[in-house]
Structures are given as structure tokens and as C-alpha cells.
Symmetry: C2
Subunit: 430 residues, 2 copies
């Protein structure tokens, strides 16, 4: 009926971060039933020994493109235009729904092993990603990336938007609520204002979230100012996109006024430090966003621009690069980076009662081995997690109380079969 | 008498990087005896199966302070002055030779598990670090950090310099040549010009290397310009320090002219991206240094400003942050970052026939498991190593042909004993 983790160190949030040592955590069904120093009645419960370990909320990867694992390390260290047009787009044009399925399953193997329990994904053939997510046991906000070329007046019959609406109807709330569907206008430079408005209307009607790219590059920023006379954030704000709950990936070049509008509309700022560095997009103004009280979460972006889906690296980068950029060693503290990767991510994606180790919350939790040399001596756990941890320190992963992974063993996915099929589809694609 | 690793993928250097698939590598005694597709006569050899794995040169941590593991995560996210004077210096003042010994052994546990085979260390009670290094099987360039306060004329009886000379006499060339001793004027702001000159003379007389900190912060740079009318590099150049082979840690604020002088004197530029970010020192001009042909290597700095000794993170940071800073996605390519962490590190530290997988070279090598999801599909190994690898992917570590570590087991160090003693000395220190 459930399980108890004994004598573990828990990193939890109420109003602020708390570290609880030597506590017991009981899970009944999908949720955390007890957290404290008492030992619950153990009859009928499996018992896990937590000594030398810590129990954390599962990490939330708030912006990725899971099937792009197929393009990992395929094209690197080149100008953005060359990378995108001569390499990435050429392969993507050849990808079919089966490729997408296996690519997303490979991503799920990697995410699970590294302690990611929830993710926001934007790509195409998303029904296959939903199928893979249902099998994996992970929690996800999935969306079909929507791009239009021509500016038309009537989007009522737009094929891609219809596909996105069908995705919502078929999958929103599926897999015991683990899957939710968002709507994704890809970006201001790939969607006309009319198209973005049509997507907003569809999302609003269905009560869905928006997941979009915003102000990733200097070129996007300047082109938008030139074409529309305003920044990407202001442009989307004026269209009314932010009247729908929105997660905005990148936000590298947003202005101070832009951030005020994001805060006003409760738009989540999804920081992707690894991708922004690797693609030379720049360093997002995260310290300013935090000062304004904007909800900042973290994402890896796709594996082709990172080149992994390792949220520990994003946490570490988030805690490091803003100090180096601003020459302020107090910028983005360890606790803030950790909160971005957990609490804030769950909040951004709109999964309620998720992202904290707390009674009544869904048991999306990871056990991390903190007895390794790089965690010693044990001065400060949150600093060790933000600055010193590795993804491989994750031993056990639960989502909705179900064990997905334990010490290298996948409980829901067939590792060998996935790797076999990834290699098979890649030999056709490349 | 030796061993053979069969069917492995080797990353090697001759004039440039080479990836050799499905080769066999034989080690006789301390050195690599064969590398190629032939299978050597296996009688008397142990055989290691290399399928699904890669054999790399051991990583070289070219600037660290190993005993500072004791201060890992003790004080973070605060202004440099507060960090140093109110926290770090207070504890360091209490450290005795036993603390240093166990702190350095903890560092060695961590370095070995992450594939570091060679390091440059600067601290005090360095005879105990030498003792620990000898036991560990690692290779190291060790030095006593030298600081003077007053400006004196005569350093012939300087106590610390005498200690450094004794360290050289007792330990240089020890442990079958695995240990070499350098001389370390700490920095331009902690050593008078006369003291630096005396250290230079001692090093020159003994044929030793110099290991120093150079131009780490804006304050150091500006103070030096104010006090001496020149930059730290120019100041050291004029003293003649660089007439001795020198490794210069940090170099965050060096000028274009400084780098010309470093190149002229063949000074190695030791880049410490993690520490420079965390302490908000800034981002060193590594792309310019590379363009000038300066030998750039990588270091973690001490664990109190990083907070680990994970060279994979430094490699990844080196490949990422210069792209983000310069907005040039071709800055510091994966191969360059990998070379900095291996070949260039060995070159900087002056360990000859080290840092490459090559016949006649010392067998300082690591086996990395590249069958994990974050290495798949296998498009480009060097990109995967620079951008996606984790320290925990290291399975086996050899130095001078001796196995130091294999799948979690330490062959030379007693993990439990070290951790016990680290906790014991910390309970006194903190």
C-alpha cells in the first residue's frame, strides 16, 4: 500500500527552505502521507533506509525538446545559422513519428537517471511523446510547437493548430493527470500576431497553458523591435498572450520594463543557461528577474544545444554564471538555484501539490547519495547540491509514489530496447 | 608484468586530436607499450574488455589547494572579503599538519574517482600533502605557498622560503618521479618584489617550476597598477619570474600585451572557470590566449571556491562560458577544452611523456563508460566528453600503469579511514 523512507535528510519548503535531518517519510498511494520524526506504523509498508542520503523534490526541467536527443553532439561549435539550417533542420525534416518516439524515450532514460521527474516539452508528433511519457511514469506539460509562415486572417482551419487542439483533447489529464497539454506559439519570429492570437484563443477556451520561446537572441530582439516597434515581450503582451498562464523560455534579452510586464501577468521566466551559453545567445538577467519576484525556473533546452538533459548542471550554471557576469558573489545563491530547479519549476508548469516534500503533496521525490567524497565534510547541504552534486548521485526516483528507477535499474522503461531502437532509427536518419 | 585493454575507443593526440576505434592498448610497467589494431601476445597479461568504453589521458588539475576540501561549502555566496577574512582565514589559522593530511587525502579520493591523475597543489604543511600523494599513487607538482608581509632586503634566512627549499630537497623526484616540487610566490599583493626575486633565484638554482596566482581580481589588477605602475604580469615579467618555467593561475584580467609577454616566456595560463565565476572574479580572456598560442590548461582551484574538484565541470565551463560572453558560438571548441584538461595540463606542469595515450608515454589513463544514455547516439565523442559527460562515468583510473580505482573501489587509499578522520578533524576545527 505504500512505503516509508527512514532516517533521511529532507530538503523541504514551506515559506522557505528547510533542512530536516533524520526524519521518516511515508507515502500512501500517490501522495506523501507523513513527514516527521515519529515512526509511522510500518505494517504493510516497504521500508527504505535513508542513512547517508537526502530526499529531495524531483527536478523539473521546465523547457526541453526531448526528441532532440537524436541530434545530441551531431553539430556543435558553429554559427547558429549554420547549425540550424545546414544541420538541425535537415535532419528534423526527415524525422517521422517513430524517430520522435524513440528519441523521447532516450531522453526519458536520461532524465529519470538524473532525478528529473517532470518536464515541459515542445516538438512535433507530440502524441508519440505523450505515449512515451505515459509509459515512463514521468509527469509532463507537452505541446505541439506551432509555426506559421504567411500572415493569414483566418486560423479556424489551421492544420497545426487543429493538431494541437486534438492533442489537448486526446491527452490532457491523461495517465492519472501526469500529462497536461499546453499550446506553443514557437516564437515571435515564426508566428504572425494573428496566429499567436488564434493560439491564445484556443488555449483560453480549453483552459490550457502557453509554452513559448521569448527573446532568445539579439537578432530576435532587434528584428522584433524593427518589425513591430516593440520588444518580443511587449509584442506578446499587447497580443494578450500573457492573459493565459505562460512559461517563457530563454528571456535572454528582456528589458527591465519587459520584466515588469512578465511579473504583472505572472509569466514564468524559464532560464536555460547551458543552451544560452553554448549557442552564444548570452546570459539572461536572472538576478533582476528574481529581485522583481518573477517565478524563475530552469530548463536544459534540447540535447542538441546543451548537450545533455542534466538539471544538476543547469542548477550549478544558474548559481555560477550570474556571479561571474555581474562581479557580485551574492548573485543567485545556492538555495535560489535549487528552488528554481524544483519548487519554481512545478509552479511554472502548473502542476499543483508538486515540487515539495510535504504532506499532501504528490510523491515526486528523489533519493541522492550524499556520502560520496564530493559531499564531505557536511557543512552545508544546499551548497553541496547546487555546486558539487552530479546527476549520477541520484539513486532512486519516484513520481506519484511510483518507483521509476533504483540504483541503475529502470522500473518502467526498457533500456536495452530503447537504445537498440535509437541506434536503428539513427542509422536511417544520419 | 602488464595488461591489455581490448577493443576500446581511444582519444589520442599526435599533432592533433585522433579518435581510434576498436584498438588494443598494452601497458608494460609504467608505460604504454603498444597502441593499435593488432592483438599483442597476451601471455602473462591481464586483459580488460573495453567495449562500450573510451580510454582517455588522465585529467590534469593544473591549479588547486587540496586541503581546502575541509572548507567545502563552509562559506558561500558572500562578498570575497567577508568570505576570506571572516571565514576561510579563521579556520586556516587553526589547521595543523594532520588536518592538511586528511583534507588532501579526501581531495585525492574525489580526484581519483573523477579521473584526475595529476594535479598542481599550493598550500602549507606540504610535506604532508607529499606524503598523501605518494600513498595515493597520483602525480603532482606540489608547492608551499609563500607570502611575506614586510619588505625586507635579505631573504637568505626567510623561514618559509627555507621550508620550500627543504620541501624540494626532500620530495622533488620522489615516488618514482611522480612528485615534483615547485616554488610559489603566492601573488603580487602578498609578496614584495624582493621576495619574488629571492624565490625566483631559489627556483632557478634548483631547476624548479614556479606556480603562482596572477591577476585574479579587478582589485589585484588595479592595486598593482597603482602600486607599481604596471599590470601584475608586467610586474612579474620585469622581476624576471618568468625566466623560470611558470604556471600562472587565473589570469582573469590580463591585457593583450600581458598575454604577448606570457607567450614570449612560455608561461602557462591556468584557467579556473568555476572558481572565477563563483568568487565573481570575472571571465578570463581564454579565446584570445588560445589565438596567441599560449598553453592554456584547466584547474578547479580549492574546493571552497568551486565547490568540488571535478575537472569535467571545468572542461564544460571552459567550452560554454566564452561562447556566452563573446556571443561567438565557435569560441573554445569541445576539442580545445578537452585538450586543456589533458595534454596542455601535463605540458604546463612539466611532466614529460604524460597527458597522451601514445606508445612510450606514461600510462596515466582513464576508462570512461560511454554506453550511458547521455552519450547516445554516438555522433561525436569529443562533444559528448566536453558537454555531456559526468565525473561518475569514469570507471577505472591508472597512473604510471598502476590501477588506482576501479568501479568504485580505491586500490591505494582507504576510503572509510579517510572519511572517519576528516569528520574527526572537522569536529575540532568547526
Amino acid at each position: 500500500m505504500g512505503f516509508v523512507i527512514k532516517n533521511i535528510t529532507v530538503v523541504s519548503y514551506n515559506d522557505e527552505l528547510e533542512i530536516l535531518e533524520n526524519v521518516n517519510v511515508a507515502v500512501d498511494g500517490e501522495k506523501i502521507a507523513y513527514l516527521g520524526t515519529e515512526m509511522p506504523d510500518l505494517s504493510g509498508y516497504d521500508v527504505i533506509n535513508g542513512e547517508g542520503k537526502t530526499l529531495l523534490p524531483g527536478l523539473v526541467n521546465a523547457h526541453t525538446h526531448t526528441p532532440m536527443t537524436l541530434l545530441r553532439s551531431y553539430a556543435d561549435d558553429m554559427a547558429l545559422h549554420t547549425w540550424l539550417y545546414e544541420h538541425i533542420f535537415k535532419i528534423e525534416a526527415k524525422m517521422d513519428s517513430e524517430d520522435i518516439y524513440w528519441g523521447s524515450q532516450l531522453a526519458m532514460l536520461e532524465m529519470i537517471a538524473g532525478g528529473t521527474t517532470c518536464f515541459a516539452d515542445m516538438y512535433y508528433f507530440m502524441d508519440r511523446v505523450a505515449e512515451a511519457t505515459a509509459q515512463s511514469g514521468l509527469k509532463a506539460l507537452l505541446s505541439r510547437g506551432l509555426i506559421n509562415g504567411a500572415v493569414l486572417d483566418d486560423y479556424s482551419n489551421d492544420e497545426r493548430l487543429s493538431e494541437a487542439i486534438d492533442l489537448f483533447k486526446n491527452w490532457n489529464g491523461a495517465a492519472d493527470g501526469r500529462i497536461r497539454i499546453a499550446f506553443s506559439p514557437h516564437a515571435v519570429y515564426t508566428c504572425s500576431p494573428q496566429y499567436i492570437a488564434a493560439i491564445r484563443d484556443a488555449a483560453q477556451k480549453l483552459g490550457a497553458y502557453i509554452h513559448t520561446h521569448v527573446d532568445e537572441t539579439v537578432k530576435e530582439h532587434n528584428d522584433c523591435v524593427q518589425q513591430y516597434g516593440k520588444t518580443p515581450v511587449r509584442h506578446l503582451y499587447d497580443i494578450g498572450l500573457f492573459d493565459v498562464p505562460t512559461i517563457a523560455a530563454h528571456c535572454v534579452h528582456v528589458t527591465d520594463r519587459d520584466m515588469d510586464r512578465m511579473k504583472q501577468k505572472n509569466v514564468s521566466f524559464i532560464h536555460n543557461p547551458g543552451s544560452n551559453l553554448k549557442l552564444a545567445s548570452g546570459i539572461a538577467p536572472v538576478p533582476d528577474a528574481l529581485k522583481k519576484g518573477i517565478n524563475v525556473a530552469l530548463g536544459t533546452d534540447g540535447a542538441s544545444s546543451n548537450n545533455n538533459l542534466n538539471m544538476w548542471e543547469e542548477m550549478s550554471l544558474a548559481a555560477l554564471i550570474h556571479k561571474g557576469k555581474s562581479l557580485d558573489p551574492t548573485a543567485v545563491k545556492a538555495e535560489e538555484a535549487f528552488k528554481m530547479a524544483t519548487v519554481n519549476g512545478a509552479e511554472a508548469l502548473g502542476f499543483h501539490d508538486t515540487g515539495r516534500i510535504k504532506e499532501g503533496y504528490y510523491a515526486d521525490m528523489i533519493i541522492v547519495n550524499i556520502s560520496k567524497p564530493h559531499y564531505l565534510p557536511s557543512h552545508k547541504l544546499t551548497s553541496n547540491l547546487a555546486y558539487s552534486a552530479q546527476a549520477a548521485d541520484v539513486e532512486t526516483v519516484f513520481v506519484n509514489g511510483r518507483m521509476l528507477y533504483d540504483k541503475g535499474d529502470y522500473k518502467t522503461l526498457d533500456r536495452e530496447k530503447i537504445i537498440y531502437n535509437v541506434n536503428r532509427v539513427c542509422s536511417r536518419l544520419f
